[in-house]
């Protein structure tokens, strides 16, 4: 126990490089008989998944089951890695129209808030966490939004405890947005790029002249010290830059800028990304997008279509699926609907295997955490879901959810409400609590 605590402290000290595992799952679990989709390799009929001490210990058709293991019979069922929703405001936005519960945006300075670490406001007691977990989402990226540079994102597991307990890695990405110029405090799209270039430029300068800055011997910078500091890993190529951008020409401009500054770029939203799928593939730029929106909601998204994800994938782009219905599944309440997004991606042309990959291993690879989550391989976190059938179908139930080897069966707030009102009393008083 002592050594465990010691390790935990070390982990926190190294800025969440490794997350603590709570609760500590000392147990060994053997999931047997199911069709196992490791994602990192071909599916295994009648496969076995062994989880030991919170980690996946073995996966295969002929795996010895350790004595004393808790057995989960998955005969006739599907076993996959836990799903990863890689663009959410889960935990930082409880009731979107109640400002007191909105913690996903920083005021920043001139719409630049690179230093903003959104996870500091993450509420592990959010009632939206349990529904996501109950429907197979075990891991998510919590992203800041708003402004030109929104701040830094984190990757967390849907486990109870503190934010520290939930953490897999923070920061996992810097987030920026090439959207409505007016909303970002400038007058035109080109000016958005100018502002970003200025920030990248200042960061470069700041990086090598920090001493001069501290002696107040540098020219004024566009961003604050903390923002510039936060941008250094981005220009060093150590921290990817997620840019939310829709219009083809904006994606193109963003790509040019990223190339100029050697920034590791990830496109998010990307309504018109399909129009330049080959270029994105050639530049090895991944795209986070959905398959449930075809509304030309603005002049920057006239090419929005549900085939976007499939066309990108077909061209060889790494695609991670996220909610994009435009008023539904991208809300914190419906992070759980990632599986519906995947099913629709298939209906609009993606292969089933690619859709599964796009909600598991692909996001893990995009964010550089494939050694931790996203596939069923020895050494990965014990994030495993047992489904009654095709994970994307509505009739399918989640039968077991394991995160870091611990099974979660807790009731959601919605379950509690339904339990209370399933049988209505004959008067209009409240029914007794259940």
């Amino acid at each position: 126990m002592n050594s465990y605590r010691h390790i935990t402290r070390l982990v926190i000290a190294s800025s969440f490089a490794l997350a603590a595992s709570l609760p500590l799952a000392a147990q060994t679990i053997a999931i047997t008989g199911g069709k196992v989709y490791p994602v990192s390799g071909p599916p295994i009929e009648n496969g076995t998944v062994i989880i030991t001490n919170g980690k996946i210990a073995a996966v295969g058709a002929n795996v010895a089951i350790p004595a004393g293991a808790q057995r989960i019979d998955a005969t006739g069922k599907i076993v996959t890695p836990g799903f990863v929703n890689s663009s959410t405001q889960l935990g930082v936005q409880e009731v979107s129209q109640v400002s007191d519960t909105r913690d996903m945006s920083a005021r920043g300075k001139d719409n630049i808030a690179a230093a903003f670490t959104v996870w500091e406001g993450l509420n592990p007691n959010s009632v939206n966490l349990a529904p996501a977990r109950k429907e197979g989402v075990t891991t998510f990226v919590v992203m800041p939004t708003g402004g030109l540079v929104a701040g830094q994102a984190a990757l967390v597991d849907v486990v109870p405890g503190t934010t520290t307990d939930m953490m897999i890695r923070a920061p996992i990405a810097m987030v920026a947005e090439i959207g409505d110029p007016q909303q970002a405090g400038v007058n035109s799209r080109g000016e958005l790029i100018v502002k970003l270039r200025e920030l990248l430029d200042d960061t470069r300068f700041f990086r090598i002249h920090r001493d001069a800055f501290d002696r107040a011997q540098t020219r004024p910078f566009a961003a604050s010290r903390l923002d510039l500091q936060a941008m250094i890993p981005v220009i060093e190529g150590r921290l990817p830059l997620v840019v939310t951008v829709d219009r083809e020409s904006d994606i193109d401009a963003t790509m040019r800028l990223a190339r100029e500054y050697n920034v590791k770029l990830i496109i998010a939203g990307g309504a018109e990304a399909w129009m330049m799928a080959d270029k994105l593939a050639a530049a090895k730029i991944p795209v986070l997008t959905g398959a449930m929106n075809n509304i030309p909601a603005g002049f920057a998204a006239l090419g929005q279509r549900q085939e976007n994800a499939a066309l990108l994938r077909k061209a060889g782009v790494q695609v991670a699926l996220i909610g994009n219905a435009g008023g539904g599944d991208e809300e914190a309440f419906n992070v759980r609907n990632l599986k519906q997004e995947a099913g629709n991606a298939v209906a609009y042309g993606m292969t089933w295997d690619d859709a599964l990959r796009a909600v598991t291993l692909a996001p893990a690879q995009v964010f550089g955490v494939a050694d931790r989550v996203g596939s069923l391989q020895p050494g990965r976190e014990g994030n495993v879901v047992v489904w009654s059938g095709d994970p994307f179908e509505f009739t399918t139930r989640v039968e077991h959810v394991f995160i870091r080897g611990h099974e979660y069966t807790d009731k959601t707030r919605q379950d509690m409400l339904m339990g209370r009102y399933k049988t209505l009393p004959s008067t209009h008083n409240n029914p007794p609590s259940q």
Binding site: N293, E331, F333, N334, G343, R397
Partner: protein
């Protein structure tokens, strides 16, 4: 962001009859003879008459297909005959006339056309720029004098997308900024140069009302700023409307003396009181729905449907008793305080209690997947121990919204004599992989997935919306 705007809106409907399935009295004949009679207030006046003409239709047989009729059990491997815009027969087999286009359904599925009774297409058109934001006349908390059809842009590119989602009939409502938002309009999802050419002939108007947070937020400081202020606003409006109705009913009966002065707002409300306009009431919370029901009782009108009733499950028994339908989402919630208690089992619980369930969208994207919303709600029901059959869930998408619009004698089920509005799906419509392959309205095939060159593109889309660039 868009959806937010729409969320601000909803409707209430007053006019329904029994809670049991079907039966709507035929719509009264519209009085289009009021040319030059703009000074008088006539019941069922129709100053903007429908000019809809059905598109050319071929006699069509779809055979070897599974048919959800919404009026009985699934017909496996059956057939359906469409002729002259109507359904002629449906069953295990049908007699195919010699000139009929025969479509092999190849084991796929047919359903009635989907009906969305909560849409803002045309009034909140895409692209969502201010110049096209015409859904909320937020200049007065009570605007019964506005008509949604006067905001509808027929070139909204969202219309063809809805058609491709299997939606054949829409109720377009004003927004929910106002206590009384104005008249809705029922549209066929067809290309048209004018909104009149999209209007469903003979459809009754709806009246949009809204409870709760939206009106009090929008008018804070210059109108109602509390829920009690909201209720005072509804009651005041109905008091004035009742006086207006009496005055005009008397004058219309005896034509004695000068006619009273005409007032557009009171005219709409008087038509509700006469039962000629159906009330669609945006209302989230159970306690507020119960209060709206009392107001309806006080003034003698009926609410046809509560829209967005995320807490309908808490008063499902009351809705069943009052014969009020619940137009609801499968899983939207928590975006504001009054949406906090949304549960996925809402539809199953309300259905189980005997009230009519309607899957609605309030969203141009969600409207295209109402079948998927129903499927999610069915899964939630199964988990609750309240299994919902597919035959039942089809009614949530078709005959129940048809009833809410007062059109269940014309659309909403596949029965002889009804309009030939139907969808051929690639698979069971409750599968996530199912997509509409063909869509018919009044017997005319208006969408064919296999024939992109013939698919409807609105004027706006030409040149602006890129197609086939892959």
């Amino acid at each position: 962001m868009r959806a937010y705007f729409c969320l601000l809106l909803a409707g209430a409907s007053a006019c329904a009859s029994a809670p049991s399935q079907s039966t709507t009295s035929p719509s009264p004949a519209r009085d289009s003879s009021n040319v030059g009679r703009g000074g008088t207030s006539t019941p069922n006046a129709d100053p903007f008459p429908s000019t809809y003409v059905p598109f050319p239709a071929r006699t069509t047989v779809i055979r070897n297909v599974n048919i959800f009729t919404a009026a009985g059990p699934l017909i496996r491997n059956g057939a359906i005959l469409l002729q002259n815009g109507k359904i002629v027969s449906v069953g295990a087999t049908v007699n195919a006339p010699a000139d009929a286009l025969v479509i092999d359904g190849a084991g796929k599925y047919v359903t009635p056309g989907i009906i969305d009774d909560h849409s803002h297409l045309g009034v909140y058109a895409a692209p969502g720029v201010n110049a096209l934001s015409d859904g909320n006349e937020a200049t007065n908390p009570s605007t019964p004098y506005v008509w949604a059809e006067h905001s509808v842009w027929p070139q909204d590119p969202q219309f063809p997308r809805n058609l491709a989602g299997g939606v054949t009939t829409l109720q377009v409502l004003p927004g929910s900024a106002n206590l009384i938002g104005g008249r809705s309009v029922v549209l066929k999802v067809v290309p048209g140069r004018t909104v009149q050419s999209m209007k469903f002939p003979g459809a009754k108007y709806g009246l949009k009302m809204a409870c709760g947070e939206n009106p009090k937020r929008v008018y804070q400081g210059r109108g109602p700023s509390t829920r009690m202020g909201n209720v005072a606003g509804y009651r005041t409006a109905w008091i004035n409307a009742e006086a207006y109705r009496r005055k005009w009913d008397k004058w219309n009966a005896d034509h004695k003396g000068d006619p009273p002065s005409r007032d557009l707002g009171n005219e709409t409300l008087a038509e509700v009181l006469r039962g000629n306009i159906l009330v669609h009431n945006h209302c989230y919370r159970a306690d507020e729905m119960a209060q709206m029901i009392d107001i309806a009782h006080e003034f003698g009108y009926k609410i046809r449907s509560f829209h967005h009733g995320v807490e309908a499950y808490k008063i499902a028994d009351l809705l069943a008793k009052e014969g009020i339908s619940a137009s609801i989402w499968a899983d939207w919630g928590s975006f504001k305080m009054e949406a906090l208690d949304a549960v996925k089992g809402n539809m199953a619980l309300v259905d189980h209690a005997g009230a009519r369930v309607i899957v609605h969208s309030d969203d141009p994207s969600g409207s295209q997947r109402l079948n998927q919303e129903a499927a999610k709600a069915m899964a939630a029901g199964a988990e609750l121990g309240i299994p919902v059959s597919e035959e039942r869930a089809i009614q949530w998408l078709t005959i129940n919204p048809a009833w809410a619009l007062g059109l269940d004698d014309k659309i909403g089920s596949l029965e002889p004599g009804k309009n030939a509005d139907l969808v051929l799906w690639s698979a069971d419509p409750f599968s996530v992989y199912a997509r509409p392959e063909k869509v018919w309205i009044d017997g005319a095939m208006l969408y064919d997935r296999q024939d992109p060159s013939e698919q409807w593109r609105t004027d706006f889309e030409l040149g602006f919306v890129p197609f086939n660039r892959n």
